[in-house]
């Protein structure tokens, strides 16, 4: 399986991965398990258990470790296998280790990169209000062109839009939208959408139908 890109890619809203939770994400075709230990530290690993290849994202967090769903092997934050339930007294060999990537929280997003990551993570700056992650079965380029030109459908004209590395910023309906761009594959896109400043929950909830409409239009190619 290919590793994720060396450049940082946003893969989730930071708030959507809670301490003690694990989830699977696909980054440019690479399957990555993301998880937070109970202290909240994020981890990103190859989504494949060294034992029999089960997806580690199906596993569960036990304190500082991720346990595989299949046979319960437990891996510590360094990716090192520390416990094998079938052989509880075994001193696990150091060679049993998960392939690790880099994971970081920045600007309300959770970021993943191969190696130590290239490029700078965005500066948090002003407070941000999360809107949602939106998964669309259409290529990233097409989705971004549509978003930069028209923003969210039905919310009026886009005043200004600018790409800022892995982020797309645009102004619409009196709000500044900050969108993390996440290609899942050649024909799949995830957008992780936030708003600058404190935006009320009611105002954000009212935007959800527009995001669904964006997904529908992008997938219809219209």
């Amino acid at each position: 399986m290919p590793p994720p890109p060396v450049a940082w890619t946003p893969v989730a809203l930071a708030a959507d991965l809670q301490p003690g939770a694990a989830a699977g994400v696909v980054v440019d075709g690479a399957e990555v398990a993301i998880w937070r230990d109970t202290a909240g530290t994020p981890h990103a690993w190859e989504d494949r258990c060294p034992h029999r290849g089960m997806k580690l994202s199906f596993g569960f967090v036990r304190g500082e470790r991720l346990a595989c769903l299949y046979h319960g092997w437990e891996y510590d934050g360094g990716g090192q296998c520390r416990y094998i339930p079938a052989h509880p007294d075994l001193d696990v060999p150091a060679s049993i280790c998960v392939n690790r990537y880099s994971a970081a929280d920045a600007a309300g997003l959770l970021w993943v990169a191969s190696g130590t990551g290239s490029g700078d993570l965005p500066d948090p700056g002003d407070p941000l209000s999360p809107l949602r992650s939106l998964f669309i079965d259409a290529p990233l380029g097409e989705v971004l062109n549509r978003l930069a030109a028209d923003g969210l459908p039905g919310l009026g004209p886009v005043v200004e839009s600018a790409e800022d590395g892995p982020l797309l910023n645009f102004d619409q309906a009196g709000h500044r939208f900050v969108v993390g761009r996440h290609p899942t594959g050649p024909s799949g896109t995830a957008l992780h959408i936030l708003l600058k400043g404190e935006v009320s929950a009611e105002a954000r909830a009212a935007m959800i139908p527009a995001t669904a409409e964006l997904r529908r239009l992008a997938e219809a190619g219209r």
Partner: protein, 210 residues
């Protein structure tokens, strides 16, 4: 008092939905195993006399005999010591719960159909079933995104209701039909909240994390 009797098949998702609701509501039920596979006991004359439609589950509670899952869920919520929270009392809350309960037993059944075809179906065209399942998942995801923004973790109202319980198995079992949870972060977090409810139980195919 005699306990309700649930005619049940362990691997059936509808039977699991009722076991889950009973456990959450604090109702002890007597389970009677129906040998659906390979025995086809649900088509035997003895079973058909109780349930002419030949399906599992079937819930019998005194004079009450229920063959439809939504009626079983509301009955258990109404009668269980921990059940009342799963049925709101006010008209607005009731309306939302009934709407999402109907969704669970109409549109959401696409998930069950996709799973059955993936596990048992020979030569069934899976693509349309999976497309319908994903369309339903997106409707629930969009709803839960809005609900979470407004401070609720559940599809209707601010607490887990019979509608959430009706929806849970279809999502938790969707990987059986190769539908991953990656694209549904709000559903994923909602499923964690359901798992944390007092009395939560699993079925084969739904791992117990705790």
């Amino acid at each position: 008092m005699t306990r309700p009797v649930l005619w049940n098949y362990d691997l059936d998702d509808a039977s699991y939905t009722v076991r889950l609701m009973a456990s959450l509501a604090g109702v002890d039920v007597d389970l009677r195993a129906v040998d659906v596979y390979p025995g086809a006991e649900h088509h035997s004359p003895g079973y058909l006399a109780r349930h002419p439609l030949g399906r599992v589950p079937l819930l019998e509670d005194g004079v009450v005999q229920l063959r439809q899952v939504p009626a079983m869920l509301t009955h258990l919520a109404r009668t269980g010591p921990r059940g009342t929270g799963f049925l709101p009392a006010d008209p607005v809350g009731t309306a939302a719960v009934e709407d999402w309960l109907a969704f669970a037993f109409r549109d959401w059944l696409a998930l069950s159909a996709a799973r059955s075809a993936s596990i048992f179906g020979d030569g069934v065209d899976l693509d349309p079933l999976r497309a319908a399942a994903i369309a339903a998942l997106r409707v629930a995801e969009d709803r839960l995104v809005a609900q979470s923004l407004l401070g609720s973790g559940f599809v209707a109202g601010s607490a887990a209701s019979v509608a959430d319980i009706a929806l849970f198995p279809g999502f938790a079992l969707s990987r059986d039909s190769n539908i991953d949870h990656d694209a549904f972060p709000a559903l994923r977090n909602w499923a964690r909240r359901i798992r944390a409810l007092e009395g939560f139980v699993t079925m084969p195919g739904i791992p117990d994390y705790h």
